[in-house]
């Protein structure tokens, strides 16, 4: 009797374990199927040549489907009204400084527009505002515009790769 019972329990456990392992494997397969494809991941790099840019000019390039703002700073302008927070957002390439950031409002992801005369970024969605360094100064955005991972190769900017300048900037090094 107890023999038979324990045998049945054992079979039950073996079957349960077997089915459980199969279920986990299936879940893993489902998760991976839903993952971004390798081709999508590989397409995540963009190279921009910064040398033709003029001081004060804003350029928008596309990286991973997102707009990237590149702003070349005129020498007199220095982003230093909130010194520590913003100074380190400037990238030095050659002897000019650039601002590189993801042009999506950190609130809900709209694209803010650059207003050159006021030197601010204005997000029309909910009235968010950023200063010329991409730091949020008004409205609902919770933080400055994000910095994309980048690397500098001579006068070229490679988006999507974490170079030493980027690591220093976000405090990873």
């Amino acid at each position: 009797m107890s023999m038979a019972n324990s045998r049945r329990d054992f079979l039950g456990m073996v079957f349960g374990g077997f089915a459980g392992a199969g279920g986990l494997a299936a879940l893993y397969a489902m998760k991976r199927t839903w993952d971004p494809l390798p081709s999508v991941m590989a397409a995540g790099f963009t190279t921009v040549d910064l040398s033709p840019m003029k001081a004060g000019e804003l350029r928008t390039v596309t990286w991973r489907g997102k707009p990237i703002f590149i702003l070349k700073k005129p020498p007199e302008e220095n982003c230093n009204h909130i010194p520590d927070e913003t100074k380190k957002r400037l990238v030095k390439v050659g002897d000019s400084e650039y601002l590189v950031m993801i042009g999506l409002c950190t609130h809900l992801g709209c694209i803010p527009s650059w207003e050159p005369d006021k030197k601010t970024f204005h997000c029309a969605c909910h009235g968010g505002e950023y200063d010329a360094c991409g730091v949020n100064t008004f409205g609902p955005p919770p933080r400055p515009m994000d910095i994309p991972p980048f690397k500098i190769e001579g006068t070229k900017l490679v988006l999507g790769e974490e170079g030493p300048e980027y690591k220093k900037m976000v405090g990873k090094a």
Binding site: P36, V40, H126, G127, P140
Partner: protein, 466 residues
């Protein structure tokens, strides 16, 4: 094996094998419905009809729709609208039904709340109904994206972005859901799958569950009266139709349902033929452009109230950013209705008009949700931001107050009201920038959320209201 005699008709042959008679009795002819219920109880049948229309019109749209970011917009706006015979009809029927289905769901839901149909044995009906609301929301959202217009695109962008608010895994989760770094082709195709297969399957299963949950506790009635369904059914079957408090679903009750349905369908087809555009945002007739945002983004009308709860908080409180608070409130707003049977501490089943404090609560909730809906559509600039804050805090406050209201704990109720008013004042000072993310607001919010979560646990049930 059972004994089979030779059947004399096709019906008899089938009946012997499928028990058609019995099935019909269980589902219709001897499914008992109380007599004293009004037209609001017809909304279930209206919903069923709307769902059927969505399914059928969807099938015809599916024949020409192309789930590809390059083709989707034209397949809808050119092929279906211009080329396919009656393509416009299916599209308008589908779009209008998708919109009014929510109107009817809300009426259905608030009928349940008004008549206290969610308690004492009817909790499962309520929960399965709320599950349907959630799955319908997912269905509507995934469908909204398919035409790949500007509003579709940015709605998808904003909604998927919300998951980024989840601590630690947020950013990766967003990429995972989208299948790319931004809303793009893989996002469209997976939402397409959700919209045409997975969600409808789940919805149909839950509809089955929802009907099943009605079977034992039976449908509530206008007076919240407890009816002995078996005894009343016997009376009815014995021919005492006048004395019996119940009627069979078929044909007696359905005839009333059909009348309500008929009136509703006139309204529905009026919209389909003359005002289909109310269900379509003009911005969605521009093709999606990931590099340009429309100046003002808002969801369809039926999501506006929860969207406004999300947006309602406009200032940071210490370590909590305005956005985090919005996300927390939004999360609460989306699940809180599930817990209604436990937030309501009064066991009595009666219409709100006879439940004193609850009546006030009910109408305040309705008004607050209308305010949230209206302000959800307005741009949250200037004073609108403050109104949004008042309505969003008000929504949470109403829920925090419900256990106190229904258990008649006046002291606790006053406490909730005072904290809420204090939050309004603090919010106003923040709005005019007199207060800077102060300690005061932090502690107020702490009290508020504690109240909210502990309230239903702390308040004891006082039984009947009388």
């Amino acid at each position: 094996m059972a004994h089979f005699t030779k059947a004399n008709s096709v019906y008899e042959w089938l009946d012997q094998r499928l028990a058609l008679d019995k099935l019909w009795k269980v589902l219709a002819a001897e499914y008992w419905i109380p007599k004293n219920i009004n037209f609001l109880w017809a909304m279930g049948v209206v919903l069923m009809t709307m769902f059927t229309i969505l399914l059928i019109s969807g099938i015809f749209l599916l024949m020409y729709y192309k789930p590809d970011t390059k083709l989707a917009f034209d397949s809808v706006n050119y092929t279906i609208m211009q080329e396919v015979w009656f393509g416009w009809l299916w599209r308008h029927m589908h779009a209008v039904a998708a919109s009014v289905v929510f109107l009817v769901i809300y009426i259905h839901m608030f009928t349940g709340i008004y008549y206290a149909s969610y308690k004492r044995g009817r909790e499962m009906i309520w929960i399965s109904g709320m599950l349907l609301f959630v799955t319908f929301s997912a269905e509507a959202f995934s469908g909204y994206m398919l035409p790949w217009g500007q509003m579709s695109y940015w709605a998808a962008q904003v909604i998927t972005n919300l998951f980024g608010g989840i601590p630690f895994i947020g950013d990766d989760l967003v990429v995972w859901i989208r299948g790319n770094f931004y809303v793009s082709d893989p996002t469209l195709t997976r939402f397409f799958m959700l919209h045409v297969l997975l969600m409808p399957l789940i919805i149909m299963a839950i509809i089955g569950l929802h009907f099943y949950t009605l079977r034992i506790p039976h449908v509530n009635n206008q007076d919240g009266e407890e009816i002995d369904f078996d005894a009343e059914a016997e009376k009815y079957k014995a021919g005492l139709k006048k004395e019996s408090k119940v009627i069979p679903f078929w044909p007696v009750f359905l005839s009333k349902d059909f009348f309500v349905l008929g009136v509703f369908m006139i309204f529905y087809f009026y919209l389909v033929f003359y005002h289909y555009d109310f269900a379509m945002d003009p911005i969605n007739f521009d093709p999606a452009n990931p590099m340009k945002t429309p100046p003002h983004i808002y969801p369809e009308w039926y999501f506006l109230w929860s969207y406004e709860v999300l947006r309602g908080f406009f200032f940071n409180v210490g370590p909590l950013s305005a956005m985090d608070m919005g996300l927390i409130a939004f999360g609460i707003a989306n699940v809180i209705f599930f817990f209604l049977p436990w937030f309501d501490k009064n066991d009595e089943v009666a219409p709100a008009s006879r439940r004193g404090g609850f009546k006030v609560w009910f109408w305040l909730l309705v008004i607050d949700m209308i305010v949230l809906t209206i302000w959800g559509k307005l741009p949250p600039t200037g004073f609108n931001a403050y109104i949004g804050y008042v309505a969003a805090v008000g929504f949470l406050a109403l829920w925090a107050a419900l256990p106190a209201v229904t258990a008649r704990k006046t002291g606790l109720l006053w406490f909730v009201i005072l904290v809420t008013l204090a939050l309004y004042v603090a919010g106003y000072m923040e709005y005019t920038k007199a207060l800077g993310n102060g300690f005061l607001i932090v502690s107020l919010f702490v009290i508020f959320y504690l109240l909210f979560f502990l309230n239903p646990v702390m308040v004891r049930n006082r039984g009947g209201a009388r």
